[in-house]
Symmetry: C2
Subunit: 344 residues, 2 copies
Amino acid sequence: MTRTKRITIQQVADEAGVSVQTVSRVLNNRSDVAIETRKRINEIMLELGYRPNAMARSLASQRTRTLGLITEDFTDFFFTQVIAGAVNEAREQGYLIMLGSTERNLQDEPEYIRLLSERHVEGFLFSRHSTESESMYIVDLIRKGVPVVTTAYHFLDHLCTVVDVDNYSGGRLAAHYLIEGGHKQFAMICGPSRWKAVNDRSEGFNQELKWKGIIIGSEFVREGDWSYVSGYQAAKQLMMEGKTFSALFVHNDQTAIGAMRALSEAGLQVPEDGSVIGFDDIPAAAYSDPPLTTIRQPMREVGAVAARLLIQVIEGGESKECLDGEVLLQPELVRRASCMNHDI
Amino acid sequence: MTRTKRITIQQVADEAGVSVQTVSRVLNNRSDVAIETRKRINEIMLELGYRPNAMARSLASQRTRTLGLITEDFTDFFFTQVIAGAVNEAREQGYLIMLGSTERNLQDEPEYIRLLSERHVEGFLFSRHSTESESMYIVDLIRKGVPVVTTAYHFLDHLCTVVDVDNYSGGRLAAHYLIEGGHKQFAMICGPSRWKAVNDRSEGFNQELKWKGIIIGSEFVREGDWSYVSGYQAAKQLMMEGKTFSALFVHNDQTAIGAMRALSEAGLQVPEDGSVIGFDDIPAAAYSDPPLTTIRQPMREVGAVAARLLIQVIEGGESKECLDGEVLLQPELVRRASCMNHDI
DNA sequence: GTGAAAGCGCTAACAT
DNA sequence: ATGTTAGCGCTTTCAC
């Protein structure tokens, strides 16, 4: 590799006939530099093509303007969008993101934390779901006073800021829309019950129905595993057992598409014979057959807000209301063809 | 933020009663340290919870073990998988990746290059498609001798290593499978013609047919824009114009699913009345109706190989055969239900 | 408004 | 096998 010698602050200083210090002041936009000196130095920097060395700056200033983001799964649309949102937001605030992933093995987590810590990232973003037990590595980090924000990963004792979608509200949204559509008989296929998101979605859905005096029996509720196949099977089973319903709420789109498939194979038309509403708004939801009505999760927004809060903590030193807070972003109903409105 | 004072190499040295240098040697796994001394130092490091400061090391050694990866679009499954592959591979080789994105605006490219350069990434990975004109910023980088590898982004004069899927071979694979299935009448919906990948896929497809004495007229070829809708429309048009075909090759899955929709709306059964084969193997391909037979692109592998080559260039200083090479990874046929084999 | 001195935590090059 | 001496390129602190 050609190791082209870069221009240093010293050379700029020499060229400008000032001290290194003055150049540094210009670099950091300090006010105490004569406007004329500043101008001259800026010109020389441009002329020489000077590029500050971030490592040297970091070493002296103890700031890296770099964030560590550790994600759980690149295959999941949710996570990739969170990353996208975080990268863009960080960039706008002058930060860069170093990426880690624990998708192969959760054991990679401490290793990535170590690697990123050594590189002195100023804070950590953990993008994962609330399912397995709490990571002691993350807890350690927080205890040490390292700024940490998670997305969708809740700690029991609100140890750190978490940004998430308001799943309860999403469940209510789904129920509300279906009730509005004139439906009376409901069924639900949820995700694995150990997920917090699943409980929240169910609770919201049930609560909204309850307010209308509707209670769905547990025989109308099935548990899937987020997969297409599990939706297909759950719907099939529901039909085999003769459970009739006019509206089906499914906890994610992939599963919902599987369920629609089962309905259509059974000779039922969606939405005429049964409305289906999903959750997520993955790309495929727009071109399933029929296109899926769903509760859209603002995933990029989640990533962006997480990055923003993290930076706030880093720079503010403390931001009371958000340090141990929970920020819930509102999901949104996306109307497509898979739901029938009986009142229209 | 609590700025906990970290243990430095000096403290370890003091504790061990040796010089800083010796500790540094242990840190860098140099051979010239007494096995006993090494052991003692390692113990003390552990005891003290010593973590080397990567910035200081970088400043002194001129090495950051960090790569810059600039991607074009986080919404595209292809790119996210490339990132996943690159991150994992880099990690295995002891490198970390800093992420940039030009998805909002291509003008962000020079800015990210600047930011990453300042942080002294040792090489750049550009993940994007070959469509718009060549980026002068990337060319500049290469000219300066900075290690650069791209995925799917080809320079006319082979300026740098590019890792891509063998699209020509993918086209042939599709044709071969359809011919094998006994098909005689073919149609194709391709992507935008300015894309290199599109030309390669078409060429491979046509060539394979030609070898069997088959030539498809241009009236059986439509151009889509990768979208679901464009596939739907193209297929619809094909049928309206009375073009009959028993096998349809579509340049990506999303478009293929749109085309299948059009066929089914026209009362045609896939695959009985017409086989459809896509390209990509996006998640939705597995649960389209019917599940889509497709040419799978090894996207993670592309990312991994790109990272590996980049690191090779960085560390080797030169690796003749790959410095300006083109590495083509073989796609793979994924058989699902959307294709009919007439010979069985 | 500007400069000099010191040092951030480490490695390189040379000594011993 | 280990220590000494110089930096890496910048910022900080304090002096003028």
